[in-house]
């Protein structure tokens, strides 16, 4: 019975699926292939070479902006995950009350407000603060990234908390664990996969943000994505492909690593 309704048996399912994957991955595949092109042009294939990786590696600006990207992503993801964990605990370990749905919406606001609106708003506010305080360091970027990373960290953590049997925490309390010990010995260990997933998502989202970063950064604070954006305006060489490919491999590496770590925990 069940087999007859299997979605894979629907007419045209297989061809549609192949088309979708094709559209998703063909551009990326092309980009990766041309990263190894031994030519100054993006479009004409001349031969295999690691030349552009070499160029990118020796480009001080690329390395500098990459390091900046990782610094911001690491700090912002960490801060966002801590806030998101606290928010998730506060919104799930409570009896439903009037206004709770509003709080969900409030926490997830960055997913709903157009990024460009947030970017312009932050530009205006931060430029004032920069004048008042005289401080123009990475703090602004970190603050902005933390803010828009919160919902990405919040959603998997909340999902994990909601699927957790509340009786487990009750049982811990019954077995002489205070609230703090219950959190430490029961809630937190069971929450880890959710927290790691949230951290990973936040990290990746921060890493490739362009819009908010472009508006908030001060001079000389390019991250890798904004640096690349700037390069493209000036004519493109396969160096961009090489950087993108390296970025892609790194991202996949991080996601895979997190996936395995979190799977071991469950």
């Amino acid at each position: 019975m069940a087999k007859r309704f299997d979605v894979r048996r629907q007419n045209g399912f297989v061809s549609l699926a192949i088309l979708c994957f094709f559209l998703l991955y063909l551009p990326i595949a092309t980009l990766v292939v041309y990263a190894f092109n031994d030519n100054d042009s993006l479009a004409i294939w001349k031969g295999f070479s690691l030349r552009w990786f070499h160029v990118a590696w020796n480009n001080g600006l690329v390395i500098e902006s990459s390091i900046r990207s990782f610094q911001i992503a690491a700090v912002a993801a960490l801060l966002a995950t801590i806030s998101a964990t606290m928010a998730a605990l506060a919104t799930t370990r409570t009896k439903p009350y009037r206004g709770l749905t509003f709080k969900y919406a409030f926490i997830n606001q960055p997913l709903m407000v157009p990024e460009i609106v947030t970017a312009v708003a932050l530009l205006i506010v931060f430029s004032r603060i920069k004048i008042w305080t005289g401080y123009s360091g990475l703090g602004y970027l970190i603050a902005a990234h933390t803010a828009f990373c919160v919902p990405f960290a919040y959603l998997p953590i909340r999902a994990r908390l909601e699927s957790m049997d509340l009786a487990l925490e009750t049982a811990a309390a019954d077995l002489y664990a205070t609230k703090w010990k219950t959190f430490l010995h029961v809630t937190l260990p069971l929450l880890w996969p959710g927290i790691l997933a949230g951290l990973m998502l936040a990290f990746v989202v921060s890493l490739d943000d362009v819009v908010i970063t472009e508006f908030v950064k001060s001079g000389g604070q390019d991250t890798l994505p904004t640096y690349m954006l700037g390069q493209i305006r000036r004519g493109v060489t396969p160096e961009i492909n090489a950087i993108s490919t390296a970025f892609l491999v790194l991202s996949i590496g991080i996601v895979t690593a997190f996936f395995f770590v979190s799977r071991k925990r469950t």
Binding site: T170, A173, Y176, A177, V186
Partner: protein, 360 residues
């Protein structure tokens, strides 16, 4: 002797939205003796689990006191009460081994490692689970999880063990085994057990005493024999076991005895625990195994409607002249059939102590 647990005028009201609030417990008082297997029995929604949660500290009474050996524990959080619980869902910690689960309570109490290890081993032995010590709780069967849950709750040597329908998730055979196992554990540990169930058979076979509950009240507290053979009111008689009810008018009453006239004119002598006025309407109860079918005239008469074979006994449903159906349970023997046939007219004889008058 001071009771192990005593509820004094306990009320728990759950405030709903607006006007509707639920009185889950309504001025309940009960005393549970030390070293007793005490069962809270009732249908779902009767307040039995609420009372258990109040004793455990997962919930707090709206009014009243809960005493543990004379000390009011009602305001204490669960982690300050020397009381442990076996949960319906077991609530074993999935990220810990069997041994870590059992040792959790002692660890939280800050006991030394050596003591915890010794106690965990003793508990594993008590529930026959030594080989599975280092397994994850997800790698053991439902019956084994049940044993771990028991061992975990018993390990800190609580003064009282609370059991919230712990056998409901097990299949019939395993449940029977665990009933005996629980009785044995209670006997060996000497801990007071408070057991919550809606299964009257389970309550009758395991308990020293049973409290029968309905809509937030305790209707009767007594031994299994008490509640089965001398139910205080109609609800108790109906909820526990199978019962025939007959309505009639009291002709005379006194000295714990009464004579009741049924509509058909049949007169039946019954035990009357409380005083009934002559002339008042009353309900009579007769257990199916306390009545006997006779060929010819009995105390009641009717026509056999249905005969159901149950292996150990046969249930014979008789349509009485009153119009009601009366069920008689007859022990089977190996050689003979039940001796009666569908559609034939029979009499039902009711012994002197078989019928009882009940409050409605």
């Amino acid at each position: 002797m001071r009771p192990a647990v005593e509820a004094k005028g306990v009320t728990r009201v759950f405030r709903g939205t607006g006007q509707d609030s639920v009185r889950a417990l309504d001025n309940v008082s009960v005393a549970i003796r030390e070293n007793e297997f005490f069962t809270l029995l009732g249908p779902s929604g009767c307040g039995k689990t609420t009372l258990l949660r109040l004793i455990a500290g997962f919930d707090f009474p709206t009014d009243g006191e809960i005493l543990l050996y004379g000390q009011d524990i009602a305001p204490l959080p669960p982690f300050k009460r020397p009381v442990n619980t076996v949960f319906q869902s077991y609530a074993l910690f999935p990220h810990m081994t069997v041994a870590d689960n059992i040792g959790f309570g002692l660890k939280m109490l800050g006991r030394p490692k050596a003591e915890i290890e010794a106690r965990v081993d003793a508990m594993l032995k008590l529930v026959h689970m030594q080989e599975l010590k280092n397994r994850r709780t997800s790698q053991i069967s439902g019956g084994q999880q049940q044993r771990v849950a028991l061992a975990r709750a018993l390990a800190p040597q609580p003064k009282v063990l609370l059991l919230d329908e712990p056998l409901s998730a097990l299949d019939y055979k395993l449940r029977k085994e665990m009933q005996i196992e629980l009785k044995r554990l209670q006997h060996e540990t000497g801990i007071t057990f408070i057991f919550v169930t809606h299964d009257q058979e389970e309550a009758l076979t395991m308990s020293d005493r049973i409290a029968v509950m309905s809509s937030g009240n305790i209707l009767q507290v007594g031994t299994p024999w008490d509640v089965y053979d001398h139910p205080a009111e109609r609800f108790v008689a109906d909820f526990i076991g199978e019962t025939n009810f007959l309505t009639g008018t009291v002709e005379n009453a006194g000295n714990g005895q009464a004579q009741v006239a049924l509509r058909s004119g049949a007169k039946i002598r019954a035990i009357a625990a409380v005083d009934f006025r002559a002339g008042s309407n009353a309900t009579l109860m007769v257990r199916p195994e306390h009545a006997k079918l006779v060929k010819g005239r009995g105390d009641l008469g009717g026509i056999i409607e249905n005969i159901v074979y149950f292996g150990t006994d046969t249930h014979i449903h008789v349509r009485l002249d009153e119009g009601d159906v009366f069920m008689v349970r007859q022990q089977n023997s190996r050689s003979a059939g039940c001796g009666f046939e569908n559609g034939t007219r029979v009499g039902i004889s009711i012994g002197d102590d078989a019928a009882q008058l009940l409050k409605d």
